[in-house]
Symmetry: C2
Subunit: 84 residues, 2 copies
């Protein structure tokens, strides 16, 4: 099995109201050193070793379902899954 | 400025209905090689260089606001923010 870690972030030009809200809360709690907060998604997929071109496979899933490429960027890493 | 990247994941023992739903959709779309999907959060914080013990600072924010340590694990990386 391969473990694929996908990081999805809002594009720089897109406002992040959720991040702003969290930053507001942090400031109210006294964490004034925080200058910016951006919130994204983190996905972990387990994919069979039989998959031929895993890079293309993951890119296709990201484009079709997992991300909104109009407002989001993504990057991913593929590693050997450690059996448990 | 320091950029702190925080990865928040559900603990292994906790069910992930959102991940299951996404996996179901992927299977219906023909991506049968996907054996598991877990969905977490990814946060990017910008923190002032003046902060004395940034590790402790981030851990405190994670425990108090950013994560729910009962059901979530987190890890973070600190790097120099590239000025834009």
């Amino acid at each position: 099995m391969k473990k694929v870690k996908i990081y999805v972030t809002l594009r720089e030009s897109v406002l992040d109201p959720q991040g702003s809200a969290v930053m507001g809360s942090l400031h109210k709690m006294g964490y004034g050193d925080v200058a910016d907060v951006r919130i994204g998604k983190y996905l972990e997929l387990l994919i069979s070793d039989d998959t031929r071109d895993i890079d293309a496979y993951v890119n296709e899933m990201c484009h079709k379902l997992l991300t909104n490429t109009v407002i989001e960027d993504y990057r991913f890493e593929i590693e050997e899954a450690v059996s448990q």
